[in-house]
Symmetry: C2
Subunit: 257 residues, 2 copies
Amino acid sequence: MSHELVKTKGTQIPRYYLIQRSILNRIEKGEWAPGEKIPPEKELAAIFGVSVGSVKTAMLNLSNSGFLNRVQGKGTFVAGSVIGRDRRRLYNFVSDFETQNEPLSVKLQEIKAVEGIAPICGYLTLPPNGQMFRVTRIFTLHESSIILSISYLAQRLFKDIDKLPRDFFESNPLYKLFEDTYKLPTIRYQEMFSAVQAPVEAVNFLQLSESVPLLKVEMLALTFKNVPLEYRISYCNTKDLKLFRMPFRMKTHRWGV
Amino acid sequence: MSHELVKTKGTQIPRYYLIQRSILNRIEKGEWAPGEKIPPEKELAAIFGVSVGSVKTAMLNLSNSGFLNRVQGKGTFVAGSVIGRDRRRLYNFVSDFETQNEPLSVKLQEIKAVEGIAPICGYLTLPPNGQMFRVTRIFTLHESSIILSISYLAQRLFKDIDKLPRDFFESNPLYKLFEDTYKLPTIRYQEMFSAVQAPVEAVNFLQLSESVPLLKVEMLALTFKNVPLEYRISYCNTKDLKLFRMPFRMKTHRWGV
DNA sequence: CGTAATTTGTACGTATGTATG
DNA sequence: TCATACATACGTACAAATTAC
């Protein structure tokens, strides 16, 4: 029994926190991959040389923060991307506060190697002439095009993504592709909202008769250690449907509030 | 010692959940008001006839969900509105992903009794000719007007709010006024985003030379039992600054991830 | 199909550490 | 310095879900 936590006496850092960090470290290094089962509480308690209670606290914290999924009777598993964690998506397109969410369908328009676009290289921590892929997609609802989405990815991280079959892009969300094929789960993301006059590409792709105001959403998706994965610009036609943010609810123990 | 939890044996509902509900119930009824100190763990354990551990679990859940604030050595206190819970606000106006948040200042433009505006009465669960107050405010940054914000409140809930001094509206956020003066904390809110051509009021108040695209944010703020408090339309000029959503982080125990 | 083994969930009791006033 | 109240930590027991036999 090799206790990994050599000593905590004399320190003010709680043991469960050290365990959290240790587990998270293994996940970040890919030692424990998304979907994988990690050792049970009792086993971890032995490994770390602490009580099951301390391991439980650590695992509950990591579960609450979305890094682990715990299932009674089965075990504890490494979670994937943030975005897919909740059953429902964070954003939906609705016509009113009361109406239900409508599912959008995706169509891949183009995937192309590009390089050196000024502010985007900065977001992706690439040099000014950095090699990127540009993924252009259209989101439609009932035959009408609602969103033009343009994603930029570092070629370094997503080798040969342009060789993948189109189907990969249309049957799954992009973050799922990152996670499954490239082992890069999305851990957090930032968003910026603004309103713009529709640029020409948007007028074409969204089949607008003229330049109308569009909701522009810029998103930066990051994985572990704040490494940027994707910078995305979405132009949303909010004439009929508006972008709705679900009220956030966190789960705590199994019986949340 | 009058045990409030008569029995849980034979049921599948955990004790800590019943305690949660009981505490939350007292808060909703105003028995324990925002800011007030609630009995310590040991005392509650005696009241409910359970162990301190069960009370702790219940209180941690309520703390994580934002209904309670716990301070080591002081006690547990009833929290106020969601919006002010985190130190930083959920939304900020920035020019770029990297830039820091800029503090906006508020100016009350007008507060007026109005009635029967079609979809808004529905949002506020008022009859079609319902009596409301309309609060018009301008948010500025460095002398330039960024946001025109129009709030609608039910007169029934906010009696004589139009008699309050202007200062009340300009020195504090609106949710703070709701909570402090009317004892109505904001428990959750929904938002809808869209892009619109600036309407005439916005052109005037935001001193626009012409009609430009504006980010329109509709918000519905709710208190306990999903009672609507405020329906707000914000027109944001995103020419220079964009609406930025902070990456969400939840706290679990004191030493979060 | 029932039974046992595994694993997490709930619950109790106790002891000690640490922040607050 | 001391009492109070929450935080951390241990150990134990049983319940409930899942899987394998």
